[in-house]
């Protein structure tokens, strides 16, 4: 086991270097750079600015400059926000994280329960209802659902805030502050949950259906075990195995911010920063953020592999 972990770790380092290289060049291929987007500059001034920011150097050189700095922990200054990249991201990434993690917990709990019950009671009205709901949520874009909820809860009933993380002009601290943020989180978390619940429920349902038909379940039932024991002790464990892989994908998602949701609810998250950095070719932010997510992806995959092996004794790691 230790050997395996070590191996994966080494592979991870190699991949990270490789990824950073590929991404840097990919971004460099995007037409136009930060200075170009300001068309009111004279070419002289533009040249001056490019030199100031080091944008007129060849790509390879820029890459190594970036790499050198990054290895020292200096990820540079955001061109657009004029502040250190790390502090910029730190300001916003936790807001996205909290919404994402609540949504994750909710999604998985609800999906697990509905998926399993739908499978057990296949073709019942419950199954039908869940299926219908899942597909309806999938067919309409998040934009609609968000606006609808805002209208119902924010404007008509006025029981939930329309956007933002805190009440306007609020100075609350401590518990009051937590409650306030919590109240503002309700709609974003709900929307995110609704959006992800569909696919996950389907996975659980299918997994469960497959397992239920296996012979060993029949054996368990034949042995006279209570249905509840059959389901929870024997079937469930095996049914959720494939879903473990899915959990690994969630790790980068926790930090990447939900762009549309953050926009509509004016949630100060990292999604908008990411989008802006692409539109404005803000390289330092792009690179730092992408490398961060890249790390998370690789770690997530690694964790998934290890967990999978740990949970299913039939699988050998090597």
């Amino acid at each position: 086991m230790k050997q395996y972990v070590l191996q994966r770790f080494l592979q991870m380092i190699v991949i990270l270097f490789g990824t950073s290289f590929i991404i840097f060049f990919l971004f460099a291929m995007l037409p136009g750079d930060y200075i170009d987007s300001n068309i009111s500059l004279t070419p002289q001034r533009a040249q001056e600015l490019k030199a100031l920011y080091g944008l007129d150097q060849p790509v390879l050189q820029r890459y190594f400059t970036w790499l050198g700095n990054a290895l020292h922990g200096d990820f540079g200054y955001s061109l657009k926000h004029q502040e250190k990249v790390l502090s910029l991201l730190n300001k916003y990434v936790w807001n996205s994280f909290f919404v994402a993690i609540f949504a994750l917990v909710l999604t998985w709990s609800i999906a697990l329960v509905s998926g399993v019950i739908s499978a057990i009671k296949q073709y019942s009205w419950f199954d039908g209802f869940v299926t219908f709901f899942v597909f309806a949520a999938m067919s309409f874009p998040s934009f609609f659902i968000s606006l609808l909820f805002i209208k119902w809860f924010g404007v008509d009933l006025q029981i939930l805030p329309i956007g933002g993380m805190i009440d306007t002009g609020s100075d609350s601290t401590g518990l009051a502050h937590l409650l306030e943020v919590g109240k503002h989180m309700i709609l974003p978390v709900t929307i995110l949950t609704l959006l992800s619940i569909g696919s996950l429920t389907r996975y659980f349902r299918t997994g469960m259906l497959e397992v239920i038909r296996q012979d060993y379940i029949r054996t368990a039932r034949a042995k006279g075990l209570k249905e509840r024991v059959v389901i929870f002790k024997h079937a469930l464990k095996n049914a959720i195995l494939p879903a473990i892989t899915l959990l690994a994908f969630e790790l980068p998602g926790l930090f990447s911010g939900a762009i549309i949701m953050e926009q509509i609810f004016n949630w100060p998250g990292v999604g908008r920063i990411q989008l802006e950095s692409v539109s404005f070719r803000d390289y330092p932010v792009l690179m730092a953020f992408t490398m961060f997510l890249s790390c998370l992806t690789i770690i997530g995959n690694f964790l998934a592999d290890v967990t999978y092996a740990a949970v299913d004794p039939r699988i050998r790691l090597k």
Binding site: S139, P141, L148, T206, V278
Partner: protein, 306 residues
């Protein structure tokens, strides 16, 4: 004996040939009412999309601003949009694009993903490591910049707009396979250790047979779920892509971009005939594919006796 014994002949003639696996499957499928309804609905949607427009009295893209934003009426069964174009006609034309994209993109990514995942899970070792690490790298590269670059490259090469859509679909499949491959690989890892695989080993089956005829078919239920989710996703992603200049080029309609056109609050509230038809079309298509898929899975499973 010169003349053959008639009784023996008759017996020979009455040996029954068992029907092929497909005939059996289809017969079982027919019994599933929901699946059959779905099948017919899908056929109907295809016909509506590909043949329907010929029956429409309206020229697709002709704008008629005097007529804009009219609610459904006898002249326009589903009303008009903000350029005065007939919504029903556009819905039908949009079906061509959305159905094609949805299904083609799904087929491509499922094929690539499941094959690579299976190979990876089956052979383990170096092959597994290489494939999975490449998958890691692909998964880490952010989609948005990648697509923007693609758009820029296609623009530089002056690729005609009509072809770009198909190229994008292929690229999306290439980029989307890592997720699917991991799922399949996971399944394969467990399946590989099961007794029936030992049996195939004993029987001396070739690797190819083992993978294609035994392992992958057992992942079909999982693949079906992924496939149906993928179709809905592709249809909706296409409209997101058009914002980047990669999807369907306006004024060509697709269900996704018809819905996006109504994404401001006023249209949403006051002009539901703009977004309800495409939304419903997507919904019903996705549901049908899923029910059909469920039905297929049940029909393929010899253990089901309904």
């Amino acid at each position: 004996m010169d003349t053959p014994n008639p009784i023996v002949n008759k017996q020979v003639k009455t040996v029954v040939k068992s029907p092929s696996i497909w005939k059996q499957t289809f017969r079982r499928l027919k019994k599933n009412k929901l699946a059959m309804i779905s099948l017919f609905f899908l056929l109907f949607m295809f016909l509506l999309s590909f043949i329907g427009p010929y029956f429409s009295p309206y020229i697709l893209d002709r704008t008629n601003v005097a007529n804009m934003n009219q609610p459904p009426s006898a002249a326009h069964w589903l009303g008009t949009d903000n350029y005065g174009r007939d919504v029903l006609t556009r819905l039908m034309m949009a079906g061509q694009i959305s159905l094609t994209i949805g299904i083609a993109a799904m087929v491509l990514s499922v094929m690539i993903g499941s094959l690579l995942g299976a190979i990876s899970g089956f052979y383990r070792g170096v092959v597994d490591m290489v494939i999975m690490r490449v998958a890691d790298i692909l998964m880490s590269i952010p989609g948005l910049p990648l697509l923007l670059i693609l758009a820029a490259i296609l623009s530089e090469w002056k690729v005609p707009a009509e072809y770009r859509l198909y190229i994008i679909m292929i690229m999306l499949s290439f980029v989307g396979w890592p997720g699917l491959a991991r799922l399949v690989r996971g399944q394969i890892l467990s399946l590989k250790e099961q007794p029936f695989m030992q049996a195939t080993e004993v029987l001396g089956l070739s690797d190819r047979r083992k993978i294609l005829h035994h392992l992958i078919p057992n992942t079909v239920p999982l693949l079906l779920v992924v496939a149906t989710l993928n179709v809905a996703g592709s249809i909706l992603s296409e409209s997101a892509l058009s914002f980047l200049g990669l999807g369907v080029v306006p004024p060509t309609p697709s269900w996704g971009n018809m819905m996006d056109a109504a994404n401001n609050f006023m249209d949403f509230r006051k002009r539901p005939w703009l977004w309800i038809p495409p939304g419903t079309a997507i919904f019903l298509t996705v549901v049908s594919i899923n029910l059909l898929g469920d039905g297929l899975r049940d029909a393929l499973d010899p253990k089901m006796r309904r």
